[in-house]
């Protein structure tokens, strides 16, 4: 495909869309589908047909809008008017939408479901990566092209050398969104400079952290953006093969990506001689099979090669020796989602968001004890208070905020006294947590901290791959001590032993899973030590969660 054709296709789609007086955008990502979005879409289509409005009204299934607990969501987009979003739409309400907007009938039950325009959930967000999510049809490439899709790839291929692309990434200050925050430009340059005949690009979509679903949403809602980002990366580092590793629990994401790859190949936007250049790039999907450790980059590569997903020591880093011994670029799916923004809007624009050291915006999955749960994208440097109380709408029942857990099993808890610190990579690390992939779980006073630590340790114990001793045995022992604390049989010596173990596992484990798995214990001990002591000394659980069924061995003997 040539530049001209690309522009024409985009224009055609825009013309087609503008023919409709109104477009009904029905969110069809996993959370909304589970609340019945497909039935709503069907009902909308039927109602449009029954009224004979097919020529004027188009019903489109789109990606995620964000407030997932309020689904199914339907956006009514009328020409020359601002969008109206309805929450909790049922098939019955779907026909009311047609009645109200096209027949002028009053529908009080529908009014109630309209989301107010100035709702802080949307007002406080900055959508860079999710800009088109909820706007484009993830199963139609034309819909993406109409929003200037693939122009960033075109720009990179035509106007920039691979060096310049890497330099632009460096200038943008983009950092890896998988959690560690490694500068993307530096990584790309390393792979570009690494000697090797074949090189690979891998998108890490093995999003295992419980409570995190940013990558799934992005793959489901805007798969073309991920593909385009990967293609640009392929051009920048000199790779001609890419893999997307999709978590096994995400069948819908895999289906949509597969469809997207096929459509892009047919249009000559992936495959050989992309956009009439000398650049060839293929993308294949690899499905995970349920192993948390495969989110670790070396384990993930083992899994792509069809082996047990066990990490291998670094160095050599994947940038030098990765898949089949060739230099391999591994980035998180969300990182690839940022690429088109950096290229098409420029590094300076991108760098205008965020803090001095952490640029851009980050997607968080807001969940737990908070009124508005869902997916949000906020500029890095926003405070936790803004997220929890403005975007999240506070805690149900007006209960007090106790802590926010970020970074999943590798992260930690941030207590109430730090509600006003800016959220960026460095600050979170100083507080004993990590940015992580973006799960943010809010807890109120009904959550017991030693129990939360136990929950995460059980997770790590189950998911430890078993290759290195400290992680395999350490997680079991740490879990045992936490179990003792929560059932009342622990003594203060156990607490010291727990801390010792944490240090040992952290310092001596092979990969990130083991090195970070004590973090939930560290951070809860740091901020909620009194709770641990209440459990051990007084057999009291301040949150009222733990049942003390056992007694310490020593006392029982005495």
């Amino acid at each position: 495909m040539r530049q001209q054709e690309l522009m024409e296709m985009a224009q055609n789609e825009r013309d087609r869309q503008s023919k409709y007086r109104c477009r009904l955008l029905c969110c069809a990502s996993t959370p909304c589908i589970s609340s019945g979005a497909l039935a709503v879409e069907e009902a909308l289509k039927k109602a449009v047909e029954a009224e004979g409005l097919q020529a004027e009204v188009e019903t489109v299934a789109t990606g995620c809008l964000g407030p997932c607990s309020r689904g199914p969501l339907v956006t009514v987009r009328q020409q020359g008017r601002s969008d109206i979003i309805y929450e909790g739409v049922t098939p019955q309400l779907a026909s009311k939408i047609i009645d109200k907007h096209f027949k002028g009938q009053a529908a009080p039950e529908l009014e109630k479901q309209a989301i107010p325009e100035d709702w802080p959930f949307f007002a406080k967000q900055t959508k860079l990566v999710l800009a088109e999510s909820g706007n484009v049809d993830p199963e139609k490439i034309d819909s993406y092209l109409a929003q200037n899709g693939f122009t960033a790839l075109l720009h990179a291929l035509r106007e920039m050398t691979p060096e310049e692309v890497c330099a632009e990434m460096g200038k943008s200050g983009l950092r890896g969104r998988g959690g560690a925050g490694f500068p993307t430009g530096v990584k790309w340059d390393m792979v570009r400079k690494a000697p090797g005949e074949r090189k690979y690009v891998v998108a890490n979509g093995d999003e295992g952290d419980p409570g995190a679903y940013m990558d799934r949403t992005l793959m489901e809602s805007d798969p073309f953006r991920v593909l385009e980002g990967m293609a640009i990366a392929g051009y920048a580092v000199g790779a001609d093969q890419g893999f997307i590793y999709v978590r096994g629990e995400y069948p819908l994401a895999a289906k949509r990506l597969e469809k997207a790859i096929r459509q892009a190949e047919r249009k000559g936007l992936l495959g050989s001689r992309i956009l009439d250049s000398n650049f060839n790039f293929r993308i294949d999907i690899r499905m995970g099979a349920g192993a948390f450790v495969c989110g670790e980059e070396t384990a993930l590569m083992q899994s792509i090669m069809g082996r047990r997903g066990q990490p291998v020591p670094r160095p050599p880093f994947p940038a030098n020796r990765g898949l089949w011994g060739s230099p391999t670029l591994i980035n998180n799916v969300e990182t690839f989602g940022n690429i088109t923004t950096v290229i098409s809007k420029g590094a300076t624009f991108y760098a205008s968001y965020g803090t001095e050291k952490s640029k851009g915006a980050k997607i968080f999955a807001l969940a737990g004890k908070v009124n508005n749960t869902g997916l949000i994208e906020v500029p890095i440097g926003i405070t936790l208070r803004e997220i929890v109380y403005d975007i999240g709408g506070g805690i149900p029942g007006g209960r007090p905020f106790k802590a926010a857990q970020t970074g999943g099993p590798s992260g930690g808890c941030i207590p109430a006294e730090y509600l006003d610190v800016p959220i960026d990579y460095e600050t979170l690390q100083k507080l004993g947590s990590i940015m992580g992939s973006g799960g943010l779980i809010v807890m109120d006073d009904q959550s017991c901290m030693p129990d939360v630590a136990k929950f995460f340790m059980e997770f790590c114990m189950d998911e430890s791959c078993g290759k290195c001793g400290p992680c395999r045995g350490g997680t079991v022992q740490m879990h045992r001590i936490l179990d003792k604390i929560t059932n009342g049989s622990a003594t203060m010596e156990d607490l010291d032993r727990l801390q010792e173990l944490c240090m040992m596992v952290k310092e001596t484990s092979l990969c990130g899973l083991g090195q970070t798995c004590p973090n939930p214990i560290y951070s809860t001990l740091r901020y909620f030590r009194d709770e641990y002591e209440a459990h051990i000394k007084h057999h009291q659980c301040p949150a009222g969660v733990c049942q003390f069924t056992e007694k310490p061995l020593k006392i029982a003997v005495a």
């Binding site: 295992g208 799934r216 995970g288 082996r307 857990q405 998911e463």
Partner: protein, 186 residues
């Protein structure tokens, strides 16, 4: 062991057991590359519902891999099961948000009602109770997947009730529709 493998190999080629055809198709598509082991096993599990030993032997022979290698991969990933699964599968999400929403109580309720431990199947082969780590529907926590439908905002009694309906021969469709209305009313 080798006899069983040999027998099934013939079955695969001779087409005695049609389920081997699905595996053969994937093997050919991947050109018998050893890197494709996980995909082949996924296809095998889809065809058989689990991974019987003779199927793993068959896959090992076809890919020219040692059986221990195939067994190692099959036991490493949670997705693969070496035991037959129940007719119905209830998957309870134990991700952080569901955990905070007391998903543990749901597991306990099902496990008590049907005397089945998580990860196991009832003796009559009707119900398998599985737990999983985050399905990414945290806005609907706690989440249960039953009959391939994601059910949100579950309660211990509600979930057990739905399982009882389905096991008694009812369908989830009517229950699920009620569930949606209930959720939107809150």
């Amino acid at each position: 062991m080798s006899e069983a493998g040999q027998g099934k190999k013939d079955a695969g080629n001779g087409g005695e057991d049609p389920r081997y055809k699905g595996i053969d198709r994937v093997l050919k598509r991947l050109q018998f590359k050893q890197d494709g082991l996980i995909e082949v096993l996924t296809a095998a599990q889809e065809a058989f519902g689990y991974l019987p030993e003779e199927v793993m032997i068959y896959v090992a022979r076809q890919l020219k891999l040692p059986f221990s290698w195939v067994y190692g991969v099959a036991t490493f990933y949670h997705f693969f099961s070496l035991k037959p699964q129940g007719k119905h599968n209830a998957i309870v999400c134990l991700g952080t948000a569901c955990y905070v929403g007391r998903a543990n109580d749901i597991v306990d309720a099902i496990s008590k009602e049907y005397s089945v431990e998580p990860g196991h199947t009832t003796p009559d082969g009707e119900l398998t109770l599985t737990t999983t780590r985050c399905l990414g529907c945290c806005g609907l926590a706690p989440v249960v997947v039953f009959e391939n439908q994601v059910l949100g905002k579950e309660t211990p009694e509600g979930t057990v009730g739905k399982i009882r309906t389905v096991l008694a021969g009812g369908s989830l469709g009517t229950v699920a529709a009620g569930q949606v209305e209930e959720a939107s009313a809150t």
